[in-house]
Symmetry: C2
Subunit: 145 residues, 2 copies
DNA sequence: CTATGTGCAAATCTTTTGCAGGCTA
DNA sequence: TAGCCTGCAAAAGATTTGCACATAG
């Protein structure tokens, strides 16, 4: 899991702060640091708590693992991120909050976006009585040839 | 999670034994019991380890939780079942081994089959260079109205 | 100043494993 | 009989929580 993160430049900090503001999340030092790593360069990211924790350490920021968990949870609650369930043992978090398909690379355990224009349903079941469709998760599991 | 299981009749036992034989799994008392609960009436089932454990207890069978876990794993390895990842905190196991879509009822945490005839892709991305598609998981998340 | 967030360690929860004894082929 | 299974308890991982201290508004 060698995901690259945004580097913590001034621009990245600003982007992180704007993002937090958009979610009405109080910009503490730790949250700004994590937010910058996540959205500092505008790219979408798929991270695990452990991965983000290591990235923070690598960037020189001191954040505890518990805080990374709490913070990712807070970002999800604020609607800034989404939790994606692809692996029974680990949670993945996606900075893109739109419903879109994913590739899951089983060999490297990496999660990436699948080109959403290339996935289309021709039919979807109507939701059963009394229920509505909250989301449709599509995970395309890939294996190395 | 109030999933109903097959009752352990003679027919169910036979069905369970046949199923184990099909997977070349040695028919111990515990495995036959669990298999009967799972496929004794020919219906497809989606279970968690904990749920199957409770069903076994309720049916009067004495099986340890560790054995339920090991057994579900063994059934998957034998190709008799499939693990479905829908919830970060729990693993679900499906007696139907074909690639098919699921409904996940977020309110009750229940997993059921979606009518597979009613889900169709009109487009799927071609697998990236050097990779092949192992499986496409479709989980339709439902919420009560 | 007050409510919220943070860090640490401990707790929790699901799942796996080591090992001694039991059972199938 | 030999090897695979089972049960228990303990271990392992991921994630959450309690509590004392720190900090944003």
């Amino acid at each position: 899991m060698e995901i690259s993160f945004a580097s913590v430049t001034d621009d990245a900090l600003k982007a992180g702060q704007a993002w937090l503001a958009r979610g009405n999340v109080r910009p503490t030092r730790q949250r700004v640091a994590l937010a910058s790593l996540l959205v500092g360069d505008g790219a979408d990211r798929h991270v695990t708590a452990e991965g983000l924790f290591m990235a923070a350490k690598a960037s020189g920021e001191s954040v505890s693992l518990a805080t990374v968990y709490n913070t990712l949870r807070a970002f999800c609650d604020a609607g800034l991120m989404n939790e994606i369930t692809v692996d029974a043992t680990r949670s993945y978090f996606d900075t893109c909050t739109e419903d879109h398909p994913h590739f899951f690379w089983e060999d490297t355990q990496e999660l990436t976006d699948a080109p959403s224009a290339e996935v289309a349903f021709s039919r979807l079941p109507s939701p059963p009585e009394g229920a509505r469709i909250a989301r449709v998760d599509v995970v395309i599991r890939l294996r190395q040839n």
